[in-house]
């Protein structure tokens, strides 16, 4: 494939197609959709962390005037626990139990029943009238408690090493023989770390509107990272065939992975079917915080051994990741990504999936990878200190390069990790002087990235402009990037290209917006579709000129004779060819559907400066530079936006974000007041450096960029705090009370000058 060079639109900061709508309030998010006759759905949620549901009596709720339907687990299709049915990374056995508690309530907030009524207030009142008989059971929240020998077991059917257990699975990545590797090591650093569950913090709570016709034809408007996922999950859980469900993606107010699964859509569908009325459901922030998936809390131990010259010879990691109340933690990201920036001969990474009475985790930017990288990159910082090496030099010495075999399997093609290290090292930030109580830390990170299924339809309008439809909700500016690519290929102004997200009835199957895959995958199908259109346009020009199609070239938005030999003809523009379409073979358009391949992993290296207030324990990030190999920045503004967004979330994870539980096993901070994500004034300008090492397997050189930027952040912040204070922190968040306690410790030493 040719990598496009000399671009007019690729690499331009064009105005995003959805920009005007977003800034004027015209963009329709899921909660903005209404229908005549619409009623409201509400969920009754478990007050208990763990309880057997003995009976549910909905008769009083049903009798309340205004109530139109009540549903509970018996209305949801059951997937028996002994047979796995996978949909992407989700197992329908667990999904059916997550959208509605079946045998047991497994966390406070777990749906028990749902009601639809003519007003929200009546629906809420009806929820109170539902009588549930619970047998309250012992519960467990934290990892150590969940894996203790006498822990309350969440699922009798779950066995680990032959015994009932809360360990839902084990995952291993191995290369060489670590025992042999550590035997060669001259310096070994081994440390243990913990992190708390953190929420993606999307601003828009989950919302949907569902209408089911008398013939079961179902329309879903909802906010998700995949309308096809919504359709498939709803079909599975309601028994309505996919062909009868039309899922329409609303504009999405943030997802970050958290909207790759469903909560409300199947319930609203069941309520709409039962009531015969369109049903709208909108979560409150409290429901989002209690019942949707954060990413895992974790505990991990990482051991790295090196020769005195800094050559790393062995690395071992053990990662326990919380899954929530049903199996499925992002272990793969922790074991697969953590050591991948390095060329290490002997690697063993083992991950355990730990269940406890918390809401089921969901994806969050590079799921699992930031947790693993936090531990690994902090240990590397200590190793560099022990070896008296610059931490970037240690990484450079051991950096994965083209030909390095990653422990998780592949041999890397041309990758840009070394370039990120070099760019960081030569960046003025790295050598800028530090003041008192300030410190600097670095860390790197890797994420797999993904390809997968994508569909596109590109149509030329009668007036010679372009409408592109793809199937992925746009969370990060993908429409703008697609407009750039299509305009580039056709040689026209990007403003002549409209980019839309189709619904499940109007575009072919397209997998989730996730895994940093969207631009990678949709650029391929859009490119191939546009190439077909260009071929058609050339054929038509050739016919008009009565020359061979091979003798026509497409340039600057028009057909030209390929060379003087082909003849002397005035160029035929896209508009002219579009106008002639009816008499020249009909409408011009092309669609391509593919399971795309060739997504290559992404690497980033970050530099973080902090300043510590040693009397209050407050850490402020005062300067931050994120260097990332972005493949090719099709729309640099949105690549930078992705990087800055990931860093901002990572700083929150590092410093303040955490789920706080009270003594009765309930989340005590289910809102943005006490779940402290950073606000704008908490952060300095987050500088980005885009290193462009094009992906050789992509027509425009695209690599995923959305997830890598979260991976290195927590370690970069922790390493910076160490540099400022001479103190190491082994748990997140490094919030003021924690920092102050460590500073006050017996061996306080004066801060670095």
């Amino acid at each position: 494939m040719n990598v496009v060079t000399n671009n007019k639109w690729i690499g331009e900061r064009t105005i995003r197609p959805d920009g005007a709508d977003k800034v004027t309030g015209r963009a329709a998010f899921a909660a903005d959709t209404n229908m005549p006759g619409m009623i409201w759905g509400k969920v009754l949620r478990s007050p208990h962390p763990h309880a057997r549901i003995k009976s549910i009596d909905t008769s009083k709720a049903e009798a309340l005037p205004g109530v139109k339907a009540v549903v509970s687990a018996r209305d949801v299709v059951d997937f028996p626990v002994d047979k796995s049915v996978m949909l992407g990374i989700q197992d329908m056995r667990w999904m059916c139990r997550n959208v509605m508690a079946r045998e047991k309530a497994l966390f406070p907030g777990h749906p028990i029943a749902a009601v639809a009524a003519t007003t929200e207030a009546i629906a809420a009142k009806a929820c109170e009238l539902i009588e549930v008989e619970y047998e309250v059971l012992p519960w467990v929240i934290e990892i150590d408690d969940a894996i203790a020998p006498d822990a309350p077991i969440l699922h009798d059917f779950m066995k680990f090493e032959g015994k009932p257990s809360n360990i839902g699975g084990r995952l291993e990545v191995k290369k060489g023989d670590v025992a042999e590797g550590f035997a060669q090591a001259e310096v070994i650093v081994e440390r243990s770390f913990t992190t708390r569950p953190v929420h993606q913090g999307y601003i828009e709570p989950h919302a949907c509107l569902v209408s089911v016709g008398a013939d079961n034809k179902t329309t879903i408007w909802s906010s998700s990272q995949g309308q096809f996922m919504v359709r498939a999950m709803t079909a599975y859980l309601t028994g309505i065939p996919q062909s009868d469900i039309r899922a329409i993606p609303a504009e999405i107010g943030g997802g970050f992975g958290g909207k790759t699964i469903v909560y409300l859509e199947p319930l609203a569908t069941l309520l709409a079917k039962k009531s015969g009325r369109p049903v709208k459901m909108v979560m409150t922030r409290e429901e989002v915080m209690r019942a949707t998936g954060p990413t895992s809390g974790s505990k991990s131990t990482v051991k790295i051994g090196a020769k005195k010259d800094g050559t790393i010879v062995a690395a071992q990691g053990t990662f326990y990741l919380q899954a929530g109340a049903l199996p499925g933690s992002p272990n793969r990201g922790a074991v697969g990504c953590s050591f991948s920036p390095y060329d290490i001969p002997h690697v063993l990474a083992v991950g355990f999936d730990v269940l406890s009475n918390r809401s089921k985790v969901a994806a969050y930017r590079a799921p699992g990878a930031p947790i693993g990288a936090y531990a690994v990159e902090c240990v590397l910082d200590e190793l560099a200190e022990a070896l008296k090496m610059d931490p970037l030099d240690l990484r450079l010495k051991n950096a994965a390069r083209q030909g390095t075999k990653a422990a998780f399997g592949p041999v890397f093609p041309r990758i840009g990790y070394v370039e990120t290290l070099q760019a960081a090292k030569s960046h003025p930030h790295y050598s800028a002087p530090l003041g008192k109580l300030q410190g600097r830390g670095v860390a790197s990170g890797f994420w797999f990235n993904a390809g997968g299924e994508s569909s596109a339809q590109v149509n030329i309008t009668e007036d010679g402009n372009v409408v592109v439809t793809t199937g992925h909700p746009d969370v990060g500016g993908s429409r703008a990037a697609i407009a750039n690519i299509c305009a580039e290929l056709l040689g026209i102004d990007y403003k002549r290209v409209s980019v839309l997200i189709g619904d499940t009835a109007t575009i072919g199957f397209s997998n989730l917006t996730g895994g940093s895959r969207v631009l990678f995958a949709s650029a391929i199908v859009v490119t191939q579709s546009t190439d077909k259109i260009i071929a058609t346009l050339k054929e038509r020009a050739a016919k008009i000129w009565d020359i061979d199609p091979e003798a026509v070239k497409w340039e600057n938005g028009a057909a030209h004779p390929a060379s003087p030999n082909a003849g002397q003809f005035e160029p035929l523009t896209l508009a002219e060819l579009a106008a002639k379409a009816p008499s020249m073979g009909g409408p011009i358009g092309a669609g391509v559907q593919l399971n795309t391949e060739g997504a290559e992993g992404g690497f980033g290296t970050h530099i973080c400066d902090v300043e510590v207030d040693p009397e209050l324990g407050i850490v402020r990030v005062i300067r931050y530079t994120a260097v990332q190999d972005v493949g090719r920045a099709i729309h640099p503004g949105y690549v930078e936006g992705q990087i800055q967004g990931g860093v901002a979330q990572g700083i929150g994870w590092a410093l303040n974000e955490e789920y706080i539980y009270n003594k009765s096993g309930k989340v005590d901070n289910p809102g943005f007041l006490d779940y402290r994500m950073p606000v704008c004034s908490d952060l300095p300008m987050l500088d980005t450096v885009m290193v462009e090492v094009p992906n050789p397997k992509h027509p425009q050189g695209v690599k995923g960029v959305g997830e890598v930027p979260l991976v290195p952040v927590m370690a970069a912040v922790a390493n910076a705090i160490h540099n400022a204070l001479g103190k190491r922190f082994y748990s997140l968040p490094m919030s003021p009370p924690v920092v102050l306690e460590v500073i006050e410790g017996p061996e306080t030493r004066q801060a670095a000058e």
Binding site: I618, R676, V679, P736, P737
Partner: protein, 289 residues
Amino acid sequence: MTELRYLAPATLDEAVKAFASAGSAGRILAGGTDLLVQMRSGAVKPGVIVDIKKITEMTAIEPTADGGFRIGAAVPGAVLAEHPHFGKAWPGLLEAINLIGSTQVQGRASAGGNLCNGSPAGDSVPALVAAGAIATLQGPNGRREMKVEDVPAGPGRTNLLPGEILVSFTLPPRPKGSSDAYLRMIPRTEMDIAVVGVGVNLTLKDGVCTAARVGLGAVAPTVLLVEAAAKALIGSKLDDAALKAAASACSAACRPIDDKRGTIVYRTRVAGVLLKRTALIAARRAAGN
């Protein structure tokens, strides 16, 4: 499903009458930045809302005869910030009120609402206490006055009698060499609730502190007036020993809880740290007056 009546009387008498007759179903609405949030979350379900923003006395900022200020209980923070003289006399109180929320919240939020909401972490309250502000109340039995530190009764509760409305705050005249300051500890830089808040108001004469008041928030069920801290400052040149003694007095006054917003140990220590910093800011300002 319950009906909600909204009243916006133009006089205080009407407001008191309406509020008193509504009984426990009645709620006063100033900026609504606490009340509306509490209503939306279902924490309170009033039957009658009495909006006091149409009452002139409650939205006015006036000089008093003796050279002090009277501030209507419903004056929003943004309006107070625009007053030509108030911030010069009471920079600490103004910064405390202006710390509440964001630009949007400032357009509505009042010191009166902050006090009557009864949160021990309300930002304006320690500064009002330090300022020696007097609250004027009006109820079915007429007017009375109360020191601001006597208004809170505990988290979410006040010593206002049924039907009583907070009308205004009266601030004393400023002797030469006086100023004040307010600092709070929050983990973030804004949009957060004080883990500890300290207001210091003092007067300096030839570098010596001749009068001082210290208000301490978020470390006990109500905002505290810490007289021992003030005592440690008075008569000193705010030297390290005096500051240390005052800081210890603040830490000793703390009766905090361990909660999601901070630990006992942390709050106690930070109260002392903030006292020192706040006193020094107030002193720097006072030296210029």
